[in-house]
């Protein structure tokens, strides 16, 4: 048994390796892919992206952005917007970034930077958009930081001013308080100076005036008395009298003055004065009241101002975040890898591994099975006393052998060539890869079993693999798909395999944790294997039946053709349709040929208003009245030819008959060339025979001579 396996495997490998194209595609191809992918993705830097920049007028700010972009990408400055966008379409550049003209960061001006991307290039568009946006956002944040710093310093300054202002307001308040008390004092003073006092004063003035009058009268009497008495005084007393007189005169003058003054004290004036004083007092009181109320409202204002200041101060004080960077980017994000891998290839390797395993396994095993099926030797295998399972196992081992070889090379290249740590949880990873290899080999064998032609089988293999690929994370994230597709995709062996290898290789998750998914993959493999075995049994029987039934179908076809052919052969010479030019129509085929060479004038001789010889011949000689009726309706030669050419299509087998006859004619023409060769052979034969005859004659003559 093992010998047979080895022989089958050895045969498969020989056949595969001797077919250079197959060997290249199946064996070398994946290795080249691995190498190329490895070289392409074995880095962690960004990609070589060309970014076009355009602005109607570049400003200092836009140039800042451009220089920032220039550090990450290859920037190309365009002087024409259309060309910039056109180059994105032509993929000369990956994005066209359009800055607003004279971009300045000023109030009420929206500086919108527009990215023009080719979204048909899905992943790249996303990546370019993200990268370019990141740079723009970064630069924007930088500018925000600067502006926020300015704002914060202004707020600090304002807070200082507020503090000073608060003190001033406090001073003002204290002064206002003093003023209020002063005003209160004035008002109370004014209030204390009542009108009674003024009336009393006026009465006092009147009484004073009366007193003065009395005094003046008294004094006048006095003076008169004095004068009279003085006159009566001695001469020696005259000096004294003069002196007294002078004194009296002075007193009188003074009294007069006083009296004048007292007289001047007009009571009516005194009233007006009192009223004036009263008015003034009222004014003083009212004004002082209004001053008080003004002061009060000023105090209120000052208080509210102080409150506002306090509130403002408090609210400025209450600002906890005073760092500009914290305000601009209050939350910072940091991606902390859960693995220590450093290149894209590390993350890609699980997917790449499953991709290679899937495509190579499916296509290789499919190719081996279909080649076996389409091989001439397929039939001979049935004649050998070998069970079907032996061939299946042999084919499986052949594919497995190549896969193991390829995986060994790929993993070696990954480990030693690209320093990928594949040894992390290597046992589990290897087990998962082995299950995937088995599953995909069985899948390929199943496809190879279902189809009968290599082209269709390979197409089916590629299609199935592609469907599995498209329903995976490799092209688009599964999360971007509709729910029901995602649910299906979750059970896609490609997705499961990739996830399992990732978990095992990158995160080192143990076998027990992964066991559920592994069981599902194993169940898939078992299901596909059983289905393949059943199908192989069915296909084997079908192959043998078809092999035998083909001859039967051919027999029936030939039988029909013979019948049709004999129908024509049955036409007797007297029934031939003889044309005026001497040609003879023995069949519909002859009729088509004759019509093709016939001119329309000749045609009219046989088919005109009075008669249709072609229809009549079909009716009376071919005994085909249906055809005859149809031919009778046709008026032109071309239509008749077309109709007659269609005739075989309506009657199965005739077309084949015509074709066969044509081929026979071709063959007979070819054979006609042969007689030369045959003639030569014949000539040689005849020469040989002549020689033999001559020899015989000679022998006979010799014999006769001997007898004689």
């Amino acid at each position: 048994m093992s010998n047979k396996f080895l022989k089958i495997v050895s045969k498969n490998l020989k056949l595969l390796l001797r077919s250079k194209r197959s060997a290249f595609i199946v064996i070398i191809g994946p290795l080249i892919i691995m190498l190329l992918v490895g070289l392409a993705f074995n880095n962690a830097s960004s990609y070589n992206i060309n970014v076009g920049v355009y602005s109607d007028s570049f400003s200092e700010t836009s140039n800042l952005f451009v220089s920032e972009l220039d550090e990450e990408f290859n920037t190309i400055t365009y002087d024409n917007f259309e060309r910039c966008v056109a180059d994105v379409k032509h993929r000369t550049i990956h994005a066209c970034v359009v800055f607003p003209a004279n971009m300045e960061i000023i109030n009420d001006v929206s500086n919108e930077i527009v990215f023009h991307l080719d979204e048909s290039n899905v992943n790249l568009a996303w990546m370019v958009s993200k990268s370019v946006s990141d740079i723009a956002v970064g630069k924007s944040s930088e500018l925000s930081l600067d502006m926020t710093n300015v704002l914060l310093s202004r707020i600090d300054l304002t807070r200082g001013h507020l503090s000073n202002q608060s003190e001033d307001v406090n001073d003002l308040l204290s002064k206002a308080d003093q003023l209020t008390s002063t005003t209160s004092a004035i008002r109370s003073s004014a209030n204390s100076f009542s009108s009674n006092d003024l009336d009393a004063l006026a009465e006092d003035v009147t009484s004073l005036k009366d007193i003065a009058d009395d005094l003046a009268e008294t004094f006048d009497k006095l003076i008169d008395d004095v004068t009279s008495k003085a006159n009566s005084l001695p001469s020696e007393a005259s000096s004294q009298e003069t002196e007294i007189k002078n004194l009296l005169t002075a007193a009188t003058t003074k009294l007069e003055t006083m009296k004048t003054d007292i007289d001047a004290l007009d009571v009516s004036d005194m009233d007006s004065l009192v009223s004036k004083i009263s008015n003034s007092q009222s004014n003083i009181i009212s004004k002082s009241s209004s001053i008080s109320s003004d002061i009060s409202s000023s105090i209120d204002l000052l208080n509210s101002m102080q409150d506002a200041n306090t509130e403002l101060n408090n609210s400025i004080e209450s600002i906890g975040v005073t760092s500009a960077s914290s305000i601009v980017s209050p939350i910072k994000t940091k991606v902390e890898p859960i693995t220590t891998e450093s290149t894209h290839l590390n993350y890609l390797l699980p997917a790449l591994l499953v991709l290679l395993v899937m495509f190579v396994s499916v296509m290789l095993s499919c190719s081996i099975v279909i080649r076996e099926k389409t091989s001439n030797a397929f039939f001979r295998n049935f004649t050998a006393p070998v069970k079907n399972i032996t061939f299946v196992t042999g084919n499986f081992i052949s594919s497995l052998f190549i896969l193991v070889l390829q995986l060994a090379i790929i993993l070696s290249v990954a480990y030693w060539g690209f320093n990928i740590n594949i040894l992390n949880n290597f046992g589990v990873t290897l087990l998962i890869v082995a299950i995937l290899v088995i599953l995909f080999i069985f899948l390929g064998m199943l496809i190879g079993t279902v189809f009968n032609k290599e082209e269709t089988a390979m197409l089916a293999a590629v299609s199935v693999s592609s469907v599995l690929l498209f329903l995976s994370n490799l092209i688009l994230p599964l999360e971007s798909m509709p729910d029901y597709i995602k649910q299906i995709a979750d059970f896609n062996p490609f997705v499961m395999g990739e996830a399992l290898i990732k978990k095992s290789m990158l995160f080192g998750i143990d076998l027990y944790t992964l066991s559920n998914e592994i069981y599902i993959l194993l169940a898939y493999a078992a299901g596909v294997f059983i289905l393949m075995l059943l199908l192989q049994q069915v296909m084997k029987l079908r192959f043998l039946h078809l092999h035998a039934a083909k001859a039967v179908r051919n027999r029936d076809k030939e039988k029909l053709e013979r019948k049709l052919s004999s129908a024509f052969d049955a036409i007797k010479p007297g029934q031939y349709f003889k044309l005026d030019d001497g040609s003879v129509i023995k069949s519909l085929k002859d009729m088509v040929e004759a019509l093709e060479y016939m001119d329309d004038k000749t045609f009219r001789r046989y088919s005109n208003r009075d008669k249709n010889d072609f229809a009549n011949w079909a009716k009376y000689v071919l005994k085909n009245s249906v055809l005859s009726r149809e031919l009778a309706k046709i008026k032109t030669r071309k239509e008749l030819i077309e109709r007659l050419k269609d005739q075989p299509k309506k009657k199965k087998g005739l077309l084949g008959l015509f074709k066969r006859r044509k081929n026979e004619e071709k063959d007979s023409k070819k054979k006609k060339k042969k007689p030369e060769k045959e003639g030569l052979e014949l000539a040689e034969d005849m020469k040989k025979k002549d020689k033999k005859k001559e020899h015989k004659k000679e022998d006979n003559e010799e014999g006769k001579e001997k007898k004689d």
């Binding site: 022989k7 030797a377 039939f379 039934a549 039967v552």
Partner: protein, 327 residues
């Protein structure tokens, strides 16, 4: 009635594919060491019969059995016929099958092909090497043993195919149209090979629509027509029973055969065909026709180059039987 030397017994085999009845109650005995020919038109059921014989196709009715004591050298107690369908693996061990199209791997060399199929038949390496050597010599393929099969000529490919069928030294060799697609020279070579294989004791069942080769090779032939065996006998007996026409083949120069035919009595001619520069006449009265022909040639300018008179052929018998069946 089954004789002692019968090795394969086909009894009441009926097989149809869909509505097509391919085999319609076939009864047949194949005798040990004989070459049995199956004559039939294309699609008459020859391939189905042969495939059924080795168990590839299971008939709807009837049975095919092999006499295992003859074939597997079992003890007397086991001397019995065993149905193919319960013993396919045993049957495969003793039957070699050469199909119409060569069955081998074009990408392997002659030696590798023989070795591969030998291995599939569980032959030990030593026996395989010995068999391959003998077969290469017998089939005149020694010089080509390292040549890829696809690079062989048509005749060599056919020989390799027979080699693959003989690698396990089968007791019965089934050949389906073995000389199809071969030129006359290669056909004759193939006849020699078949005869030699048979001389070594191998029972051969051969299907062909080349009646001349069956006539030459076969001990017995069976006429298969639309799934039924019309007649089984030796070629000689069949010809005697079912063919009366003698075939006269004439080669003359300049070869104006129409003129010659005009001078013959048409009543004596059953059929006349002019092909490949020769005139073939079928007649029940060969002596009269020959006499008239000689006379006509004397009066014309024809120079006789060759003339052959063939006894009634198997072809004639076959045509007669087909006509009879059709009637």
């Amino acid at each position: 009635m089954t004789g002692h030397n019968t090795v394969i017994k086909i009894e009441g085999v009926v097989k149809s594919f869909g509505n097509h009845i391919v085999l319609d109650g076939i009864d047949l005995d194949i005798r040990s060491g004989e070459i049995f020919g199956i004559i039939g038109m294309s699609g008459s059921g020859k391939t189905t019969l042969l495939n059924s014989t080795v168990g590839f196709i299971r008939p709807d009715e009837g049975d095919i059995s092999f006499r295992m004591d003859h074939l597997l050298q079992l003890s007397d107690k086991e001397t019995t016929f065993r149905s193919v369908y319960g013993n396919v693996m045993d049957v495969k061990k003793i039957v070699g099958f050469a199909s119409q199209t060569p069955s081998f791997y074009p990408g392997l060399t002659v030696y590798e092909n023989l070795d591969y199929f030998g291995c599939l038949h569980n032959i030990s390496k030593e026996a395989r090497t010995s068999n391959i050597r003998a077969l290469l010599k017998f089939l005149d393929l020694e010089s080509a043993k390292k040549t890829l099969a696809k690079n062989l000529s048509g005749g060599m490919q056919k020989r390799l195919d027979i080699g693959c069928a003989l690698i396990h030294d089968p007791k019965v060799l089934i050949m389906d149209e073995p000389t199809a697609d071969l030129d006359p020279v290669l056909r004759e070579q193939m006849w020699d090979i078949i005869s030699e294989i048979n001389n070594k004791g191998t029972t051969i069942i051969i299907s062909s629509h080349f009646l001349d080769e069956l006539e030459i090779l076969c001990d017995r032939v069976g006429l298969l027509f639309e799934g039924r065996i019309c007649n089984i006998d030796t070629p000689r007996n069949i010809k005697r029973r079912f063919s009366k026409d003698t075939e006269i083949i004439l080669l003359s120069e300049p070869g104006n055969y129409k003129k010659l035919l005009e001078s013959l009595n048409k009543k004596d001619l059953n059929k006349s065909v002019e092909e490949h520069g020769r005139l073939t006449i079928h007649t029940e009265k060969p002596y009269e026709v020959l006499s008239d022909l000689m006379k006509a040639m004397k009066h014309s300018d024809e120079t006789l180059r060759d003339i052959r008179v063939n006894e009634p052929s198997l072809r004639e018998a076959f045509n007669y039987l087909v006509r009879k069946e059709n009637e």
